[in-house]
């Protein structure tokens, strides 16, 4: 099926070359970082994780969100998702690839990455995260490929793929739960040390991921002859609404616990993020942008009459995605490091090489996504009108 990715319009090739340009710039920036060390980033002794790990965390959520299509379709027999389930699975593949690249970019000694497998350490959450992410990548590649191949031949997918599909459901939940455990199990980091962290992660993932899928589905309709359909997009819109509501609610719970209990250590990070601490407030404008976008998107999503208009839905999804990206891809990680272990404030801001590398990883993700979507869309165009059944 790969050959389908090799025949495309000028726009398609132009887009791919554009992405390759960014990837090339990122590669050069990475060589620079590789040679001079992570000192070329904004990271410091106090804020030892930053943009890279934030993006990683955010994208694990995007990857996990494929399950929001898989569950209704395979477990609840919601046939309308039949044509777009593949879009979710392929999005998951590119998201996991980005996650892995971000981990590599963040590593001080990337050449030694195999040590994770040479010296498997069962008590390390990071070890488990590596295992479940690789497993999830494998599951989505095999499920996506086999089902799409069957579709293109107009036959039902083989029975043996079913167990893999069912397995992918708890597996998706596991990747984001384990990622939350990286944070939620650290003594002394009060901002992260919260039992609701994994639940918050899942809620934001199930809002942000499907929101991105809606945007992608609308783009696919606009740019190709394949129409994912009005109803599946509306169904996704409902999922986004509920999940976003849960996400905002969970964040509210965090605020309540921190501020009603009155424990200073639990409040410091919130103070830093939303109001500034000891005169340091670099992240405040970003966090308020995130909050405002969250409220706006939620307002537009809650009323069905707004949500039903696709233009409004798209706007709401873009706002929501940006809001969650700031909150989880940046604020969550940095907030946990402020104040530091001595209750002093050190601030962080990504440097130019760090930003270029980050953009390049996203470009790589979009490259993979474009190629995979090209294949999926071509298959859908060829089999237009034929009812597919998995």
């Amino acid at each position: 099926m790969l050959d389908k990715a090799l025949k495309g319009s000028r726009g398609y090739w132009g887009w791919l070359f554009f992405l390759m340009g960014i990837m090339g710039a990122g590669f050069l920036a990475y060589l620079y970082q590789f040679k001079n060390g992570l000192g070329v980033t904004g990271l410091s002794r106090d804020i030892s994780w930053g943009l890279y790990i934030g993006q990683f965390t955010f994208l694990v959520g995007v990857a996990a969100s494929a399950v929001m299509l898989v569950i209704p379709y395979y477990l609840h027999d919601y046939k309308k998702f039949g044509k777009i389930v593949i879009l979710g699975e392929f999005l998951a593949i590119s998201a996991v690839i980005m996650c892995m690249l971000f981990i590599m970019a963040d590593m001080g000694q990337p050449m030694r990455v195999m040590n994770i497998f040479l010296h498997p350490t069962l008590n390390s959450v990071l070890f488990w995260d590596t295992v479940v992410l690789n497993g999830y990548l494998f599951l989505n590649i095999i499920i996506g490929w086999i089902t799409l191949e069957s579709d293109s031949k107009g036959i039902k997918p083989p029975q043996w793929i079913k167990p893999f599909i069912y397995l992918s459901v708890p597996w998706a939940v596991s990747i984001h739960t384990v990622t939350a455990f990286i944070y939620a199990g650290l003594p002394g980091r009060h901002f992260w040390l919260s039992a609701i962290m994994a639940a918050r992660f899942l809620a934001s993932a199930f809002a942000g991921g499907p929101a991105l899928l809606i945007i992608l589905a609308l783009l696919v309709r606009k740019l190709t002859k394949f129409d994912p359909g009005k109803e599946p997009i509306q169904a996704l819109g409902k999922i986004v609404t509920y999940a976003m509501f849960a996400n905002v609610f969970f964040l509210g719970l965090e605020f309540f616990t921190a501020f009603y209990s009155g424990i200073p250590a639990h409040q410091h990070s919130f103070h830093y993020l939303y109001a500034g601490l000891d005169g340091y407030n670099k992240l405040v404008p970003l966090m308020w942008t995130s909050s405002i976008l969250a409220v706006v998107s939620l307002f537009l999503l809650i009323f069905p009459s707004f949500r039903k208009k696709e233009g409004v839905l798209a706007f709401a999804c873009v706002s929501l995605f940006i809001s969650l990206w700031i909150d989880k891809g940046f604020g969550l990680v940095i907030g946990g490091f402020v104040p530091n272990m001595f209750e002093r404030v050190t601030e962080y801001w990504p440097t130019i090489p760090e930003t270029i590398i980050t953009l390049a990883v996203w470009a790589t993700g979009f490259f993979v996504l474009t190629v995979l979507y090209k294949i999926a869309v071509t298959v859908r165009e060829e089999t237009a009108g034929i009812e597919i059944e998995h």
Partner: protein
Amino acid sequence: MSINRREFLRLAGVSALAGVGGVAVFNKLQNNALEASEFTAGPNALNAKRWAMVVDMSKFKTPEDYKRCMDACHSTHNVPNFSNPKDEIKWIWPEKFEHAFPGQENPYMNEETKEKSFLLLCNHCDNPPCVRVCPTKATFKRKDGIVMQDMHRCIGCRFCMAACPFGARSFNYRNPRGKDANGQPLIKEENAAYPTRTIGVVEKCTFCTERLAVGKLPACVEVSNEFSKGGLVFGDLDDPGSEVRKIISAKYTIRRKSEIGTQPSVFYVIGGNDYAIVPEIL
């Protein structure tokens, strides 16, 4: 010259027989892929079930006293001086009370404690989160309680830095063997008897395992004995007769963030009687 583990053990055995001890072996092995953590104990090695330190800041009088301890550690262990807080590497350093023991300060406490600087270092926790999270076992706890690292295994993921509640760990953001902006080497005078580190790995205080192996006290403790008695005291927490235990049982000591359960092995004397005049332990 490359050398494998068996060769190393043979060499160590021979030199131990010859009474040369570990340091000589270590000198030989300089610049090889050998770990400080694999240091073989010599015949005079100091041993303990659980090494611990008692820090009594009242014995430190001048800024010079602090500096001597820090310099002793950092020069012995080839700790580079980046002279900026972002890339900074430090194994032992001073902090005021409110930063050393956040949450313990109050607005009315006596000026002396409030203004006093406390020397901080890795606590060699009995229940160390840094060990728990390390995905490669590069950070591990020895039988004698010392939390050590294998610099050749560390992948530089910095999970241990996020996990350490005491900010005890530093990362080599830049090449520690390099030069600063003025062309000066970051390690002023390299101590050939101790390995330098590579870029991209995490490091911290080791309780001077390389010195214990040849029967010496940690460098900071040794130096502190030159100007104070009992400023820094090192010993076996498991031995009721050890000096550290005697002090801890006689005086009021606190540990950093003891409420989070990592069980630090570094104790800070806060006021109380001078143990030298407590009759029962004399």
